[in-house]
Chain length 187, copies 2
């Protein structure tokens, strides 16, 4: 969706530390690497996924697209997003944490992100995010368990205090089972 | 809201014909005039409002901000948006039709846009919009009649055929009575 990259670019600058909480096939990881690695400043990207095949796909995509120098600034972890705090460098705030929920495109539709771990991951993301940062969630409702997970994310977003967060939602109206975008901006 | 101007800029180019269906105090009319009047190309802006005081405020704002040349490219009409087809130049397709619903800020809260005329106006806007154009609706739900009007707009958006339209909605989740943005992109 054209909107998601526009919103990320509104927030992310060269040199930033960003997290792809669900690498999938690596397209978001790559887009983020391009955003934080500029001529003058090289940022840091942490990517994670529970599925080894997702990390392999991501690694292949990055190897074939990024320069060796840029590639060094991406680290991939075989990890559930709910445990992102385990690997984060101390004292470093993330500028963006991106979630692309559901199943791995091209992979098994039985292996999906789940409400309980996604909720833990959102909690962790909210903790590691710096002021001015963004948690970006692409939520799919067409698959089994998708709507429940979406409701969990939405409920999390709705409860965030307005003093420190602006949570918003973008959805397609005339395609009812399409993905929904949820943006959590930290003031 | 920062998003609305970004989305408009994604669609509108210098030289375009655009419509502000609800001038209000003229801020959107001004923003649109700046977008369609560039160095090399001057577009055309039609603005309308049922309230004379709204048109006066808009006219004052435009006179004090635009160059005399730019100002000539804005035409204001004392008209309900449901009747926009009455004044449109034949054969000219609009690139953008913008609605900012509700009451006039600073004016009477009894004078509001209403579901019936807003629905007629959306029908008219869909007819005058060219391919690649956008109907942009800012809908307020905090005032009396607001939620009903919002539901009318949302229902209109949901029913648009996916072959020719992408309708989408952007809303703030942790401020339940805040405005909702509805974008109707014509393919």
């Amino acid at each position: 969706m054209w909107l998601i990259c526009r919103v990320w670019r509104h927030v992310v600058r060269g040199g930033d530390f960003v997290i792809d909480a669900t690498c999938g096939n690596g397209h978001d990881t790559l887009a983020l690497a391009k955003m934080v690695c500029t001529e003058s400043r090289k940022g840091l990207i942490y990517g994670m996924d529970v599925q080894q095949s997702a990390l392999q796909n991501t690694s292949c995509l990055l190897d074939s697209t990024l320069s060796p120098n840029e590639r060094q600034h991406v680290r991939l972890f075989p990890l559930c997003h709910s445990r992102m705090e385990d690997i984060l460098p101390k004292g470093l705030s993330a500028r963006l944490v991106a979630f692309n929920l559901g199943y791995l495109p091209g992979g098994s539709k039985e292996l999906i992100t789940r409400s309980e771990t996604t909720l833990l991951a959102l909690d962790a993301a909210a903790k590691v995010l710096g002021s001015g940062g963004l948690i970006s969630v692409m939520s799919y409702i067409g698959h089994r368990g998708g709507r429940e997970e979406y409701e969990t994310v939405r409920s999390f977003a709705t409860k965030l205090p307005t003093t420190t967060w602006v949570s918003s939602e973008y959805e397609i109206l005339n395609r009812p089972s399409g993905p929904v975008l949820i943006f959590l901006f930290r003031r």
